[in-house]
């Protein structure tokens, strides 16, 4: 369990108090989809993602970004208990949505960049380090349910499906 020092908590909560969750959420998710276009794979139902301006103006992207960042807000309020706070969301992303944990790392870093943009010089190396610790922690929590055992079960299922599909070829 990662421990945040008093200074780190202050850095995180002070920054967070000045964040416009709706605006920054849409921006962060939008940037993720622009900078790492392969992440669009999870959002087929979102409509037009054909260009940077389409993505950034897309109302579904904005709405979902706000949802995601609101959850980040829960993390900020529960820095000492991230595991319990995110238990259900972690299960959802692993068992239902099947999101590669690498994507959480990417989104976390995009959020850090959005914060840097908004806060400029105020986003000192020390403040950044506190946020990196939080996003790394969240990435680990969201990724932890994808255990080696669960992965092995999926590998086996995928191999069985592939064999079944190839069966008629011979």
């Amino acid at each position: 369990m990662v421990h945040f020092t008093a200074e780190e908590k202050t850095a995180i909560t002070t920054t967070w108090a000045k964040v416009n969750v709706e605006e920054t959420g849409g921006e962060a998710l939008g940037r993720l989809l622009v900078v790492y276009p392969w992440t669009q794979r999870f959002f087929d139902s979102f409509g037009n993602l054909s260009s940077a301006s389409a993505i950034l103006g897309n109302p579904k992207v904005k709405a979902h970004g706000k949802k995601v960042l609101t959850s980040f807000g829960d993390a900020v309020k529960n820095l000492d208990n991230l595991k319990a706070t995110f238990s259900k969301l972690s299960e959802l992303h692993c068992d239902k949505l099947h999101v590669d944990p690498e994507n959480f790392r990417l989104l976390g870093n995009i959020l850090v960049i959005c914060l840097a943009e908004h806060f400029g010089k105020e986003f000192t190396p020390e403040v950044q380090a506190a946020w990196q610790k939080l996003v790394i922690c969240l990435t680990e929590h969201f990724g932890k349910d994808f255990t080696p055992e669960i992965q092995a079960a999926w590998q086996k299922l995928e191999a069985d499906v592939a064999n079944a599909l190839a069966h008629k070829y011979l």
Partner: protein, 131 residues
């Protein structure tokens, strides 16, 4: 990429800041600099920031031939420095964070994507002779 790289004088400073951010956010990166004074603002960090900035400026001026331009640095990283590839992503991220702090809204999503792609390409070239 080029507009983001125009402010030549301050490149060294920005690269130095990016290094400081990298050492603070990702302490494992410090293992490659046991011989350095890594306190913020140290001459070692400033000097190294300038070196990194100069190499990146050369790369920007030769976007169509990164392997040729960075060949010597590529050899250096493969045979002498042997920095684990994962660390290039960490420094690249902190370079973008630094740019974001200084450029604010001018670091548009498109510019951000270009810089990310550029740093990833540089990293690929620098690790291309590893094995």
């Amino acid at each position: 990429i080029r507009p983001g790289s125009d402010d030549i004088q301050h490149h060294g400073q920005k690269a130095g800041e990016a290094l400081t951010r990298t050492f603070l956010s990702f302490p494992t990166t410090k293992t490659y600099f046991p011989h350095f004074d890594l306190s913020p603002g140290s001459q070692d960090v400033k000097g190294h920031g300038q070196k990194v900035a100069d190499a990146l400026s050369q790369a920007v001026a030769n976007l169509d031939d990164l392997p040729g331009t960075l060949s010597k640095l590529s050899d250096l990283h493969a045979h002498k420095l042997r920095v684990d590839p994962v660390n290039f992503k960490l420094l690249s991220h902190c370079l973008i964070v630094t740019l974001a702090c200084h450029l604010s809204k001018d670091l548009t999503p498109e510019a951000h994507a270009s810089m990310d792609k550029f740093f990833a390409s540089v990293a690929t070239v620098l690790t291309s002779k590893y094995r």
